[in-house]
Subunit: 200 residues, 2 copies
């Protein structure tokens, strides 16, 4: 039996904020894998309001403490970007070039040590201008991952085109959905070949 | 609306290892609180095989990154001890005096900054000698918490006296239960007045 331990590193969407079932998409895809007989130790390293700059400050210490203490099949899934694109009094929290530099550093460090995936940021449905800033990050992150042979999943497209995520986020805080939105995100990731390869 | 964010700092039992529903006791008590209208951001800082010595190395950085970046109602729940009591080739991973010194340092740091609770270690049902070493830690940790006015919950007693935790752990890896055991642990914590005060 393999000893699969996965760090999910990112922001409030990784943590599953808003989900009344307390699982988020990461909890759901790990629970589904277990249903297929694949037991995963899930380390939730999603922190609210964390930009890629803040993630970079804590990632190495937090992931190492979880994956390097004992021999195990350690892996990492990143997902961030929404908080980078926040506008604060006319200034963006993290400029796109910096987001990409941070992502490059995170992905390089991780992929040299562990199998690594990246899930792109979800839509921010309550604010069109904000969401437009997120949209521009998606292909840039995808390209960066592609150059390093790290599988990248566009989560924004499917969630923005669907109804559940949008409807629940608008009822909630304008950003985070409830259980239905996270279930939909989990469905998209479950259908993604790189994740299936990890968990079959 | 308050912005309650709780770091659950500890070991594999805090992480909920073995739980096919992927929530553990911490996920369940937060979900139950939400059912009462109390929304909690849950930060799971439970790491497999972590002794109090290892927890001490990461606690300040990990908790600070989650509770200090923005104004919020940050709190901490500790739960550890089982891995300290592990016997490795005739040597205990952490001697009781060191466990207590570590606990003192953790509790002092935390309780000066955040409302803090401690949940005692659960039983290790698959190994009587191992469990006896855990049992001796419980009153010592309780006393230490009492001196600092930090509420301490004996989880070992109720779980060792009941059937669910024991039965599921024995079917599993001898240490970790499945959903039923964690649900029983959550029930015990839910009935604990200090936790109720935080979440009503």
């Amino acid at each position: 039996m393999s000893d699969l331990r996965i760090c999910f590193v990112g922001d409030s969407f990784v943590n599953g904020i808003g989900d009344s079932e307390g699982l988020g998409w990461a909890g759901r895809i790990c629970r589904a894998a277990r249903g297929r007989g694949v037991v995963i130790t899930r380390y939730d390293l999603g922190v609210r309001r964390d930009t890629s700059t803040l993630i970079l400050r804590r990632c190495v210490a937090e992931v190492s403490a979880r994956l390097d203490a004992v021999p195990c099949d350690g892996r990492v899934v990143f997902s961030f970007g929404v908080d980078d694109a926040t506008d604060e009094s006319g200034r963006r929290r993290v400029e796109p070039a910096q987001t990409l530099a941070n992502a490059e550093e995170l992905l390089e460090w991780s992929s040299r040590r562990y199998p690594t995936l990246m899930v792109g940021p979800p839509p921010l449905v309550g604010d069109a201008a904000y969401d437009a800033r997120i949209v521009t990050l998606v292909p840039a992150l995808a390209q960066l991952c592609s150059r390093r042979d790290i599988p990248f999943l566009d989560l924004h497209g499917p969630l923005a085109r669907g109804e559940t995520w949008r409807a629940e986020a608008l009822v909630g805080d304008g950003a985070h959905p409830d259980a239905g939105g996270y279930a939909r995100a989990a469905e998209v990731i479950e259908a993604w070949e790189p994740w299936r390869r990890w968990t079959r």
